[in-house]
């Protein structure tokens, strides 16, 4: 029991640090990638290939002047970024990062909390994500911030629906809400083969939920100054910016787990390796998938221009939502006929 407890705490700490580290370096990769696409060098001054750039940015954010508007609601102003960060990190609890490692007769599953409601838990956390932005935007007592917050919340509410419906068709197919079970079922064929439309809808909604371009209207500089974080400075601003990258990492992990077989590696069972090595290779393979999706997120950002707000709402309600419904009905019919 005590070994198990220590193991869980270690796993939580490792996953937490890993999320932060990956998010940290995602900022660098993003800038390098933007440089590559726009035919220029990215940041290359701090360390070789600029690998110390995220550290420098972090230090800079820590030492910036902490500014707080005097008309702000103090408690909520601080709560906003904290909540955003917390919610961004919460989802990682249910993602199965790998199979089971067996050491000295003890089984250590590489998942912090395995319950029978993993996917619903993810939706609950996603639906909480809007509060940090809303509270922060409102508490700053600034028109632009409030407009940004209102935009963010209406965008997130609209896209949550299509997101949930697209996953519902996958749930109907797999018949389980547990992510571990979902991964196990994709041992031979990944879910994306059966549900390409659901994957597409989910991916677009994930872009909108993480407030990434082309759906980054809450913070569009041209019309809203900085959007919901206009009044934020120093590390509080850092939390908002940073949580976007954590969200990107976690969404990539969720997409890889639900649609792309999670830690399953094709033909791994034919190699005749020991159980623990298979688990570790699977985890490595999951991370390859996650990084590929993070790059895809960035590629989209630096390729597509921003939507107009009415276009965004139209896309969510009039295209993605009905498409997800049709996908759900088709899945139901196919399952009935089979």
């Amino acid at each position: 029991m005590i070994i198990y407890l220590i193991y869980k705490i270690t796993l939580i700490v490792i996953i937490l640090l890993m999320s932060l580290l990956i998010a940290m370096y995602a900022t660098l990769v993003e800038r390098k990638f933007a440089g590559f696409i726009q035919d220029r060098y990215g940041p290359d001054r701090a360390g070789p290939w600029g690998i110390l750039q995220p550290v420098c940015d972090g230090v800079k954010l820590f030492f910036k002047e902490e500014y707080m508007p005097n008309t702000a609601d103090k408690f909520l102003y601080i709560l906003g970024p904290c909540l955003t960060m917390m919610v961004a990190l919460l989802t990682s609890a249910v993602i199965p990062w790998g199979g089971t490692i067996t050491i000295a007769g003890y089984n250590f599953p590489l998942q912090v909390a395995s319950s029978s409601i993993d996917i619903l838990y993810i939706f609950a956390v996603v639906s909480m994500g809007v509060y940090g932005i809303m509270i922060g935007g409102w508490a700053s007592n600034n028109k632009f911030a409030l407009l940004g917050a209102v935009r963010a919340s209406s965008q997130m509410i609209s896209y949550e629906l299509a997101m949930a419906l697209s996953i519902a068709s996958v749930i109907m197919m797999t018949g389980t809400l547990s992510l571990q079970e979902t991964v196990n079922q994709q041992h031979t064929i990944w879910n994306v083969v059966y549900q390409p439309l659901a994957f597409l809808i989910f991916f677009i909604c994930a872009l909108a939920e993480t407030n990434r371009a082309p759906f980054d209207l809450p913070e569009c500089e041209a019309e809203l100054v900085g959007g919901y974080h206009t009044e934020y400075s120093a590390m509080k601003l850092g939390f908002y910016l940073f949580s976007e990258y954590i969200n990107m990492f976690i969404s990539s992990a969720v997409i890889s787990t639900i649609f792309f077989g999670g830690y399953n590696m094709p033909f791994i069972s034919n190699l005749g390796l020991s159980e623990n090595i298979v688990t570790l290779l699977g985890t490595a393979f999951l991370f390859v998938k996650i990084f590929a999706f993070i790059l895809l997120f960035m590629w989209v950002r630096w390729t597509l221009p921003r939507f107009r707000y009415d276009q965004l709402m139209k896309l969510g309600w009039k295209i993605l939502f009905p498409l997800a419904l049709v996908n759900l009905i088709i899945t139901g019919i196919v399952m009935l006929l089979k």
């Binding site: 609601d73 909520l76 319950s115 029978s116 409601i117 619903l120 838990y121 939706f123 609950a124 639906s127 909480m128 809007v130 509060y131 809303m134 509270i135 409102w138 007592n141 409030l146 917050a149 209102v150 919340s153 209406s154 509410i157 949550e160 809400l177």
Partner: protein
């Protein structure tokens, strides 16, 4: 362990429910209400009703409260304007509240607390709820969905009507 969690959650729920009433700023009230919902969701998990807990959070905290917050932010009620009520209204409110308390106490007095519900019941699991809902309670479930659908259609109709009125208003001003 479970006992301590229960008392913690109960305390949190009562505290946040009181703060909903006490706090002066409407936005704070909404946030305390969300906290209260979380405490109640915790109770559901203690009763092994995971599905109910998560759906409770998704629907109430994740959707309805967001709309509440949305409306409050738009109304801009952050200036603390205390509504003055007359003495008669205050006395009437206290009496009404007291009567409700008496009724609740009377209703709960007969309850036998020693026969607690077994926390090991599996009815709260998603698959069990689904089976019960779609076999035994098929008709009420479908009736409720139709009710929701009609409410949705009604909401859309109200939204549409305003738009049309605006259009006619614009046309009228244009005609003038």
């Amino acid at each position: 362990m479970e006992k301590y969690i229960f008392f913690f959650l109960s305390g949190l729920a009562v505290f946040s429910a009181l703060m909903v009433l006490i706090s002066r700023k409407p936005v704070h009230s909404v946030l305390y209400l969300i906290l209260c919902f979380f405490a109640i969701a915790g109770h559901y998990i203690l009763l092994n009703a995971q599905f109910l807990a998560v759906v409770h959070i998704i629907v109430y905290a994740g959707a309805i409260m967001v709309l509440f917050l949305f409306t409050l932010m738009m109304l801009n009620l952050n200036i603390v304007g205390e509504v003055r009520k007359s003495v008669l209204a205050r006395v009437a409110a206290v009496i009404a509240g007291g009567l409700l308390l008496v009724t609740l106490v009377a209703a709960l007095k007969g309850l036998n607390l020693s026969t607690s519900l077994s926390a090991n019941t599996q009815i709260g699991m998603t698959s069990n709820i689904g089976k019960v809902l779609f076999n035994e309670y098929m008709f009420p479930f479908e009736a409720a969905s139709i009710l929701f659908l009609s409410a949705m259609v009604g909401a859309v109709m109200i939204g549409k009507k305003e738009e049309e009125e605006e259009m006619t208003n614009v046309q009228m001003t244009n005609d003038k």
